[in-house]
């Protein structure tokens, strides 16, 4: 795998996660944790995609890693575990696929659609990828929480 590409994806993941951290009203002192969470998520996902895994499997592995890391580190941060792992996985939420799936559905109703069956299949493929990827992220985050959850002072 090209290390520069891995670094690029990791940095973009960190910036996106930190940006959403601000949107979620996380304090400036805690933003580095958000950036780290996003960086880990994108690094793992990019590495797994480089190994030939599909997007859903790579997203699952990344979410599992972030979820487990957040569980281990939660005592050191003052952010709720829920916020930290969600912020880290936000850059992996397939928003563009969702938009393409819905736009594809809109296109089906257009009178000028040339190949309706191809448009439909593409839209459904995008919709399924969105569903499976979000499912993979949610499951990946939930497993460490359910297995390792300890009631400590938050």
């Amino acid at each position: 795998m090209n290390p520069y590409f891995l670094l690029h994806q990791t940095l973009c993941g960190a910036i996106a996660a930190a940006g959403f951290g601000v949107l979620f009203n996380i304090g400036f002192r805690s933003l580095p944790w958000c950036a780290a969470s996003g960086a880990v998520a994108l690094a793992v996902r990019t590495y797994c995609l480089g190994l030939g895994w599909n997007l859903e499997a790579a997203s699952f592995a990344a979410a599992l890693t972030v979820g487990a890391a957040v569980q281990v580190l939660r005592a050191r941060t003052d952010i709720s575990q829920n916020a930290l792992d969600v912020v880290g996985c936000i850059p992996m939420v397939p928003g563009s696929f969702a938009a393409k799936a819905i736009l594809g559905m809109f296109a089906l109703t257009s009178a000028s659609t040339m190949d309706a069956s191809e448009t439909l299949i593409t839209a459904v493929q995008y919709a399924l990828r969105v569903t499976f990827t979000i499912g993979a992220i949610g499951t990946g985050l939930a497993i460490p929480t359910l297995l390792l959850r300890v009631r400590v002072n938050r």
Partner: protein
């Protein structure tokens, strides 16, 4: 006999402290829910506050738009319900609420003091300024664009379009515009600005830039919460959240579609 069935309604006058206790516990849960917490966290904080204030038994029902709790002390009991407002995300409020719940659990606060603290947190918890949020969201969407494969020349326009979209969204939400309508308006504006800017900058990935410009609208926290809630035994709330996420995406896509149509006609 079931413990709840044996409770005597508070109306009999046996335990006068139940009413304020129940309402304070519900308010703690309501504020946490409005700050973007999952069902298990809400359950946990209501139980923590109620038990810290002296409740023996706490049973909570979490709906999408309301919370209902039954509090029991000895043989007395009370059931109360509280409406829940717009579900946003506010991490600092979440954090402060947990600190408060810890204090209550240690027995450091009375019911009246807890109520005063909750009021203070709801009104005084600081938020980042609109400009800081706009810059942060712009940077996040520009990074999203790069992750999606947008070229470098489109990152500036995406940054500006998403930042302006965030400013407009905040203004609309302050004016209590419906969140779905707000998603459509912001999506239309941001995608159009992102597309026009990317075209002006000579980008070859205009469609990707338009999509990246509206990714501030992706409801990431509700979508993850929806799944968590279903996995943790709250399928009703989880399903309601999932439907809300789907409708927001549809409204956002409608705005994007309109932006694409206008841009295509422009050319």
């Amino acid at each position: 006999m079931d413990a709840i069935e044996s409770l005597i309604p508070e109306d009999s006058g046996s335990t006068p402290a139940l009413e304020p206790l129940a309402m304070v516990a519900l308010d703690a849960g309501r504020l946490l829910m409005e700050a973007g917490a999952s069902a298990n966290s809400i359950d946990e904080i209501v139980a923590k506050v109620a038990r810290g204030l002296g409740a023996d038994r706490v049973d909570l029902r979490i709906g999408y738009a309301s919370l209902a709790v039954t509090i029991g002390i000895g043989h007395s009991g009370i059931t109360r319900m509280r409406e829940v407002g717009h579900l946003g995300v506010n991490q600092r409020l979440d954090q402060e609420l947990w600190h408060l719940a810890d204090k209550v659990a240690r027995g450091e606060l009375t019911t009246a003091q807890t109520r005063a603290e909750l009021t203070r947190l709801a009104t005084k918890t600081p938020r980042h300024s609109a400009w800081v949020m706009a810059v942060a969201v712009g940077l996040a969407c520009a990074a999203f664009g790069r992750l999606l494969g947008a070229d470098w020349s489109s990152t500036g326009p995406v940054f500006l379009a998403a930042g302006i979209g965030q400013l407009v969204r905040r203004e609309l939400l302050t004016r209590h515009v419906n969140v779905f309508i707000c998603a459509s308006i912001v999506s239309f504006l941001s995608s159009l600005l992102g597309g026009l800017g990317a075209n002006w900058a000579g980008s070859t990935t205009i469609t990707t830039a338009m999509i990246a410009s509206i990714l501030l609208l992706v409801p990431g926290v509700p979508s993850v919460n929806a799944q968590n809630d279903i996995l943790e035994g709250h399928p009703t709330l989880g399903s309601a959240r999932a439907v809300t996420v789907a409708v927001i995406l549809i409204f956002a896509a409608a705005g994007l579609w309109l932006g694409q149509v206008l841009l295509a006609n422009w050319h």
